[in-house]
Amino acid sequence: MTHRAVVEAVRAAAHRSASDGGGLVVSVAFYVVIVGTLSGLWRVAVDANGGDLAGYSAVALTWYIITSEAAIVSVNARHIEDIGTDIAHGTVAVEMLRPASVLGIRMATEVGRGLPKVVVLWGAGAVVATVVAGAPPRPAALLLAAPSLVLAITANLFAQHTVAAIAFWIRDAGSVWFLYLKAVFITGGMIIPMELLPDGLQTASLFMPFRAMAYVPARLAAGYWEPALLLEQVFWIAVLAVVANAAFGAGERRLQVVGG
């Protein structure tokens, strides 16, 4: 697949997503309510703990939450279900008629769709965080958090495609999205920073890709200048890309044999 095809897929999807004003307004409203509530709870917890919780101040945790939520809310939470439906209903079979990777075009499209959302959500979150808690603890770290958010979305989408590929073998992959989302919530650090998880879970999460989807950009936005975290994201994206590609390749071959 050519570089231009990927760019066009990203561009077209981003344009489509940015044009959906109503959808963006609903997403922002939902997001502001969630981050307003969660950051309020965390500020109470930090204050009750003497102004510091596992190294995070109230301001840092507020910036953590607005970033982790932006990373996750920007991606269609039920994308796994949607891909499963497309596989079961033969839409993927038609996509196989193009001289391009089905996974590649789908990934480019979904990343493109997520980009305007993450910009708008994170922007709205920054306003909320500044108003309710204060300026970012270390503004320079936001320069790392911004690309990290794009990497987080990419990792999340590769993982969703990997999981959704089971629809090539089983008819209903719809229920899997619920388990996946719970894994992102807990071991991805979406609601709770990793440092506050029990030791065993913290260790286990190091060997899972979910940290790359929420925790990494959130930790950077919370003021931690840790560029190595970006490398961790790149590592997981590479792993997930290989696995998703293998899963889709095997699924397409199965579709060719058993029909769809």
Partner: protein
């Protein structure tokens, strides 16, 4: 040859171990289509038409047999073949519904490696050919089905394919849109030499588009001949449906069979070998009682039943 298939067979297995069933969707299919032909590949629902097209376009592996399309084995060279063929499924969209057709064409052009100049030239050509240029700027979801099909056709013609596979392209279209699409396919074949391979269960698609008809039933080819020959043998029968305001006497002409006759309606089958359809219509309209009249093709099931009655060739 544009398409060549020998002994092509596809067996699907359904159910679990104890209840496993084998369904032979395509059985020992032999088929040759020369470049530039217009072939209607027809059969009733479940006959194996879509399965055949999926094999020939590389989406499905056959269980047995061989096939080449433009010299390539479809299931082994799917992406290379995709650059040289266009495929249109009547019930599946090649376009992105939230985009305008022009935006979809831009993405498809990038996928097919057309540069911007070639893309612009081709989109303009197709806009003229399909009389659809004014539709290219509207979001796909706002187009009628007939308008969308013209834009879909442009999408699958963008890379100037040598063969066009169309699976039930007229399904769901109204009469005017169907006729327009049929005319476009003929024009495309005549002006650009594109091979047309069309599946349908609508007899009128054969008459208006194809020069050759291949009929498939239960996965097997049961008829393969020129449409003109088919006209002489199988499509010579027409059904005439008449609405009445007052009772009339049914026509008593050779080859006219009355299927149904009440004070308000009458249905006739006319064998046009024996009596021209015009003669029957003239007699029916020679009085004030007829308020509505239509002439329709026999259903495909009837055509197939007649094929089985033909002497073996």
């Amino acid at each position: 040859m544009a398409i060549e298939a020998r002994g092509l067979t596809k067996v699907f297995e359904t159910g679990r171990r104890r209840t496993r069933r084998r369904i032979e969707a395509v059985r020992d299919l032999d088929l040759s289509v020369a470049a530039g032909e217009r072939v209607a590949y027809i059969g009733p629902n479940g006959a194996g038409k879509s399965t055949s097209i999926k094999i020939l376009t590389g989406i499905l592996h056959p269980t047995a047999g061989e096939a080449t399309v433009l010299g390539l084995t479809p299931w082994e060279d799917r992406r290379r073949l995709a650059r040289r063929i266009g495929t249109l499924f009547g019930q599946r969209s090649l376009l992105w519904l939230e985009l305008t057709p022009r935006q979809s064409y831009r993405m498809l052009a990038a996928i097919y490696d057309l540069d911007r100049a070639a893309e612009a030239r081709r989109v303009a050509e197709l806009g003229d050919l399909l009389d659809a240029a004014d539709l290219f700027e509207q979001p796909v979801r706002t187009l009628s089905l007939g308008q969308r099909m013209r834009c879909e056709l442009a999408a699958c013609l963008l890379h100037d394919p040598e063969i066009l596979f169309l699976d039930e392209p007229t399904i769901g279209l109204d009469l005017v849109a169907k006729q327009r699409l049929r005319e476009l396919l003929v024009r495309l074949n005549e002006q650009q030499g594109t091979t047309i391979f069309l599946t349908s269960h609508d007899v009128a698609d054969i008459e208006h588009v194809a020069k050759r008809a291949v009929v498939i039933n239960h996965g097997e080819v049961i008829y393969d001949d020129e449409v003109a020959a088919m006209h002489r043998t199988l499509l010579a029968t027409k059904v005439v449906e008449v609405g009445l305001v007052a009772p009339i006497v049914a026509p008593r002409q050779a080859g006219v069979t009355v299927l149904e006759h009440t004070d308000q309606a009458m249905r006739l089958v006319v064998d046009t070998h024996l009596t021209p359809i015009r003669a029957v219509l003239d007699q029916l309209l020679d009085g004030p009682s007829v308020v509505d009249i239509s002439v329709v093709d026999p259903p495909l099931e009837q055509v197939i039943a007649e094929i089985y009655e033909l002497p073996a060739r």
